[in-house]
């Protein structure tokens, strides 16, 4: 039985790869290899996107390095395309593992014509209808009340879907977070709230964020169970999340799962010197030693099915090629032109917007830089 409200994070695999609890039978070497592959893919995606940033081909990126077990584990614990997800902006490992095509994700980051979000949003704020992966919003915690509403609709409609809502630890300070948690609790909505507690909100540490000893205990106030998990142990993440998802789906109401993890990189490219400014090298190193990818490699070693250096190198090369191809394909579609400014504002474009669009069309065709029209 998996217990809520534990004082320590639930774990299955120790940092050295030794199982601490009996390894559930479903975690065969093949399954673990699949999880490993998906985590490496997300990690290498991070590296490639940082390179694209340096090359000036995109303007913003928020890494998820270090958080892959939480996100990939979540993706593998729900019914993709059946359940609904209200993610936050650091969730590309989740999106990739849910099957959002690389081309779609890269196109969004580059804002090309192939971007399903049509170049409206900042890079890294993707959305995908096929996966029920609702477009990401920058505004912290603003997805939480809508996620509660999405789950209320699922209950109302009598589906067996559930809603997943993810957020960082910082998000739990916003009024919207409390409002959404309370709403879901009061209505008994099938919402699975997942806190990706990477312990920092830009430069603000969890200790300055809240006087609570943890995030998951806040669930108590909203009348739902709260679970505490080692977010760098993908076995633990999947064991707890699939158990909790089953409860939520079967009508027991919402639940909160706190995955304790760490973002080893900077908050985003706008925050390049995290170490210099607000956190210590020692802290980062301590968490690097708990790397979720390395942990699965050690577990596989322990099971006598190690990932060879060659296999790992192949995985890395394959991902780099996958991203490179997506970048070329996306860039070949060009940048959306001025028309995207006026489309999708309303269902029917009202007359004042049609006028403004006509004005811009005329300006774009007639006005060349530096010229003043008489």
């Amino acid at each position: 039985m998996i217990q809520p409200f534990t004082s320590d994070p639930l774990r299955w695999v120790a940092e050295d790869g030794q199982p601490i609890r009996e390894l559930p039978a479903r975690f065969t070497p093949e399954v673990l290899r699949d999880l490993h592959r998906e985590m490496v893919r997300a990690r290498e995606f991070d590296k490639k996107l940082v390179t694209l940033l340096r090359q000036g081909r995109t303007t913003f990126y928020a890494q998820a390095s270090g958080m892959e077990a939480t996100q990939v584990g979540l993706a593998r614990s729900i019914r993709v395309g059946h359940d609904w997800v209200w993610p936050y902006y650091r969730d590309h490992a989740l999106g990739l593992a849910m099957g959002v095509p690389m081309l779609d994700l890269v196109s969004q980051c580059l804002g090309t014509n192939s971007d399903l979000c049509r170049g409206r949003q900042m890079p890294h704020h993707f959305g995908a209808t096929r996966q029920n992966f609702v477009s990401i919003s920058s505004s912290i915690a603003s997805q939480v009340p809508p996620a509660a509403g999405n789950a209320m609709a699922q209950k109302y409609l009598g589906t067996d879907e559930l809603t997943v809502c993810t957020f960082g630890d910082g998000a739990t300070s916003e009024g919207d977070w409390h409002a959404g948690m309370n709403m879901a609790g009061a209505y008994g909505a099938p919402c699975l709230f997942v806190c990706e507690n990477n312990q920092w909100a830009i430069s603000t540490n969890l200790r300055a964020q809240t006087a609570s000893e943890s995030i998951h205990i806040k669930a108590k106030a909203y009348g739902m169970p709260g679970y505490y998990v080692d977010g760098n142990d993908i076995v633990a993440v999947m064991e707890v999340l699939s158990h909790v998802a089953q409860d939520v789906r079967s009508g027991k109401g919402p639940a909160l799962v706190e995955c304790l993890t760490y973002r080893v990189g900077s908050h985003s490219n706008a925050d390049a010197d995290a170490e210099k400014n607000y956190r210590t090298r020692e802290e980062v190193n301590a968490w690097l030693a708990r790397d979720p990818i390395v942990r699965v490699e050690r577990l596989l070693e322990h099971l006598g099915a190690p990932v060879s250096a060659e296999e790992r190198a192949d995985l890395i090369t394959a991902t780099h090629r996958e991203v490179d191809e997506a970048v070329l394909a996306a860039e070949a579609t060009g940048q959306p032109d001025w028309r995207i400014v006026f489309e999708d504002v309303y269902a029917d474009t009202p007359v004042h917007l049609r006028e403004q669009a006509a004005f811009l069309r005329e300006e774009q065709t007639a006005l060349t830089d530096g010229a003043v029209r008489a």
Partner: protein, 339 residues
């Protein structure tokens, strides 16, 4: 420079330096923290990190964690706490990380900060400053580029300020800290480092409610504020090359705004072009246009024209097209001149 443009006043040491807009803002906070122990500076990441744009860089080191501190990630808490502190006698300078994120703090701003003086018959007041980077031009998409000033200009009880020069940034921020009212102080983020200018090393204030003439002219008046000012001046320069003399006015404050300055200028030129990057509908400049036509109906030689943002969310890829640049402003001027 004209009579209405305050000269960089000689400070005690008589020294002026060239600063960027953001340096002037930091300096204003440092001097106010040093001047008055009741001044406190707080918000998300303003402490060790020094703010995401580094506006508060070094302040925590200099003044300690009691005076300059990080808050939980909650704009409602930041603004609401600022109100409570101000009521209890402190002088809070709260930072909202981006103007786009005033949303979660909106109720505290309009229900508490703006109304406590009125609803208590003046028994309780909340003199505080909310600083926030606003406007576009930095490839931020709609959650990092909006210009929400009209929401606040629409709410009685708030003062609304937006500097475009380092000199004004320092003087207006000091005036805001020392005044008796809640002030929403918008910082046009694309000018943080792009706008450079002379700033006195010592103490001075710029009165909230006074505009400034940036350039004198007789043929028409261009009126703007904040991030559009460099483009307004560029447009005026381009027109000058064609023999047209535009007067350029920087409002500097929206509430209250300098009606006298605007009306004096437009009654001289007979033509007005109003520039802002906020969406056109319910744009604050609509109010300025209304007052011009009400007061100067007989003297206008052409309809008042507005150059504004489009009535769409701020786009990411087409961010340059969205902003009213010098060309769009100049084209509007030409239309008004040819009316």
């Amino acid at each position: 420079m004209t009579a209405t443009q305050p000269k960089p006043a000689a400070s005690s040491a008589g020294e002026t330096r060239v600063l960027t807009l953001i340096q002037a803002i930091t300096e204003a906070m440092a001097e106010e923290l040093a001047r008055d122990e009741r001044v406190v500076v707080f918000g998300e990441d303003v402490g060790a990190r020094g703010g995401v744009f580094l506006a508060t860089a070094g302040l925590q080191e200099q003044f300690g964690q009691k005076r300059v501190f990080d808050t939980p990630l909650s704009e409602a808490s930041i603004v609401g706490a600022a109100v409570g502190m101000a009521v209890r006698g402190l002088r809070p300078i709260a930072e909202i990380q981006f103007a786009d994120y005033m949303g979660p703090g909106f109720d505290q701003i309009i229900s508490q900060a703006a109304k406590i003086r009125y609803r208590s018959g003046g028994q309780f007041t909340a003199p505080l400053v909310i600083r926030t980077p606003s406007g576009g031009g930095v490839k931020g998409g709609h959650h990092h580029s909006q210009s929400p000033e009209s929401y606040f200009a629409h709410t009685p009880g708030l003062k609304v300020v937006m500097p475009s020069t380092p000199y004004d940034a320092k003087g207006l921020l000091k005036a805001a800290v020392r005044g008796g009212d809640p002030v929403i102080y918008f910082e046009p983020k694309r000018l943080y480092r792009a706008a450079k200018g002379e700033v006195p090393a010592g103490d001075y204030t710029v009165e909230i409610g006074q505009g400034a003439v940036r350039r004198e002219g007789s043929d028409l008046t261009i009126i703007g504020y904040g991030g559009v000012m460099p483009d307004a001046e560029k447009a005026a320069q381009a027109l000058a090359a064609e023999g047209v003399h535009a007067e350029v006015i920087d409002l500097r404050s929206l509430v209250p705004w300098d009606r006298d300055l605007v009306l004096t200028s437009v009654s001289k030129t007979g033509r007005a072009v109003l520039v802002s990057e906020a969406p056109r509908t319910s744009n604050f400049m609509g109010e300025v246009a209304y007052v011009i036509q009400e007061q100067l109906f007989d003297q206008l030689l052409a309809p008042v024209m507005q150059v504004a943002g489009f009535d769409t969310p701020y786009p990411y890829v087409q961010d340059k097209v969205y902003l009213p640049g010098a060309n769009r402003i100049a084209a509007a001027c030409v239309r008004v001149l040819n009316y």
